[in-house]
């Protein structure tokens, strides 16, 4: 237990690879994720299994992970040993799903690889959910990593598989490849120019799904959208991954065009909004999560356009560290909503001042 809490503190001190703001199209594509769903043959799926059955599955997966070279330095966490706030902390870092954190914690686990690129959830909806999360538009590389990790694990695990239906999953929406590839895109200018709905519609015509992310308050989505493949059966993995990468690339181009149009036609007004957002984040003493998300979105745009001299990783990280569980771990105690708003403002002021100092940047 002490060990687990120490491990979480080490996570808190580091920046996950996906937040570094590097990789292809990192200005617009925050992160790329590949997720594979797998189950063990001869075992009931977690929701239908006994506690003992789930324990057997967890032990088997842990053993296989112990032999997988990709997970040599990995961190193993048993969710029932973690307090709620720490489980939420893992959700905020995109290492586990909310369902994994909220459900009956018994016999659930997560295995976290180096730099948080790999995370393997054990006994979520399926026995094994492995994800590869990286910065920028990096789906093909992500697939290569996921596929290799899958190969390493299957050396020790007999997966439930049928030649006809592929990898058998708890929910038939995931059957076949068990693959969900997704890209998280930051599209503030498509939103400002009111083109976003047209773009999202076009995406769905191509067999993909799009949705807003980071919704916490009214309309506060931070302009983040996740697009992912809707079907998992009847298409080979490279085909699914390529299609998503290609279409995400097209959305990137549209956002770039929208940015250019706004900068050309309305630079003053845009700079005004961005600097006001930055000013508020730098000086507020009480700030909600919703307002933070909205303002950080504008400042992130300012960084991408070379208007605000900060590094992108700082802004990316603040989207995560200003969330409730991160604030509470930072404070070392649980905080009421109002206290969080005060802490959040403090964190923003300190981080932005430190980052501006590093960049030698000052407000003109």
């Amino acid at each position: 237990m002490a060990h687990a809490i120490e491990a979480l503190s080490s996570l808190q001190r580091q920046t996950g690879e996906w937040l570094r703001g590097t990789g292809p199209h990192a200005a617009i594509v925050m992160s790329s994720r590949i997720r594979l769903a797998r189950n063990l043959a001869g075992h009931r799926f977690p929701h239908w299994a006994t506690k003992r059955g789930r324990a057997q599955v967890r032990a088997a997966v842990e053993q296989a992970a112990g032999r997988a070279p990709y997970l040599a330095q990995a961190l193993l966490l048993h969710l029932e040993e973690l307090p709620g706030v720490d489980r939420l902390f893992l959700v905020e870092r995109h290492l586990i799903s909310r369902e994994h954190a909220d459900g009956d914690a018994a016999e659930r686990a997560v295995i976290i690889g180096d730099r948080e690129i790999i995370a393997v959830m054990v006994n979520e909806e399926d026995h094994v959910r492995l994800q590869v999360l990286q910065s920028g538009l990096n789906l093909r590389e992500g697939w290569a990593i996921a596929s290799e990790l899958d190969r390493q694990l299957e050396a020790d695990l007999a997966y439930a598989f049928s030649p006809a239906w592929g990898y058998l999953t708890c929910c038939p929406t995931n059957v076949g490849t068990g693959l969900r590839a997704s890209a998280m895109l930051h599209l503030p200018c498509l939103v400002m120019t009111k083109q976003i709905n047209r773009v999202l519609h076009a995406i769905t015509k191509l067999g993909l799904t799009a949705r807003g992310l980071y919704g916490e308050g009214t309309e506060a989505t931070g302009n983040f959208f996740q697009i992912s493949n809707q079907v998992s059966l009847g298409r080979a993995e490279p085909e699914l991954v390529d299609a998503l990468e290609r279409i995400a690339g097209q959305v990137v181009q549209q956002e770039e065009a929208a940015r250019e149009a706004i900068v050309t036609q309305n630079r003053e007004a845009l700079e005004d909004r961005i600097w006001r957002a930055y000013g508020t984040l730098k000086s507020a003493h009480i700030i909600t999560s919703a307002e933070t998300t909205d303002l950080l979105s504008l400042v992130r745009l300012g960084v991408d356009l070379g208007i605000v001299p900060l590094d992108r990783a700082t802004i990316n990280t603040l989207f995560i560290t200003t969330q409730p569980a991160h604030l509470q771990r930072w404070a070392g105690r649980s905080l009421a909503s109002r206290e969080r708003d005060v802490r959040r403002a403090q964190l923003l002021r300190e981080s932005l001042a430190a980052s501006a100092g590093r960049q030698g940047g000052t407000t003109p």
Binding site: F45, W48, S97, D102, E154, T173, N174, G176, E216, L233
Partner: protein, 179 residues
């Protein structure tokens, strides 16, 4: 803003979900979001699936197909699946295969896996699976007059299909010779 579902609690989950060309905004409170199975990490086809499940019962009844009542491996009943959208074990796929095949076609537009298989699966089984998948897609492509795609698929099938063996060990061959 209050939750679209219960109209009581404050909405904290805001989604724009676009399924089958229809966009709708959903504002849900946490408990309702969880109940609806709304996740950041999919299953995105869930709405499709649930619609499919509602229709499925009727379709099966009309066609006179009564799904087996329970999975011999895990005991899950088809009723349980219709309620939750979740299966109980890998064997459920075989047990309920007729109903599932319909459903999978609705959700994925396909009912055959193409792609990766565990290394332990024999190369023969892999090739057969891929072949069957390709043939299904070829049929579909011809039907929808996508002739260019059909030609590509035909080429790939040609590459995969071994020259017919005199003994006819492959299932397909046996079927043909039986006719």
């Amino acid at each position: 803003m209050t939750c679209d579902l219960c109209g009581e609690r404050e909405a904290t989950v805001h989604l724009t979900e676009i399924i089958q060309d229809e966009s709708r905004e959903l504002h849900l409170c946490e408990p309702c979001a969880r109940e609806k199975g709304v996740k950041m990490d999919a299953p995105f086809g869930l709405a499709d699936l649930m619609t499919g499940l509602t229709d499925l019962g009727a379709t099966l009844e009309q066609s006179g197909i009564a799904p087996p009542t329970a999975c011999p491996q895990c005991g899950l009943r088809f009723e349980d699946f219709k309620r939750s959208g979740r299966l109980g074990c890998g064997t459920c796929y075989e047990t309920f295969q007729r109903g599932l095949a319909l459903l999978l076609r609705q959700v994925h537009g396909a009912s055959r896996h193409i792609g990766k298989a565990p290394a332990a699966t024999s190369p023969q089984a892999k090739r057969e699976a891929e072949l069957e998948g390709l043939k299904a897609r070829l049929k579909q492509a011809v039907k929808s007059e996508a002739f260019e795609e059909a030609a590509t698929l035909r080429d790939r099938i040609g590459q995969l299909e071994p020259p017919p063996k005199p003994k006819g060990t492959r299932r397909g061959t046996r079927h043909r010779s039986a006719q």
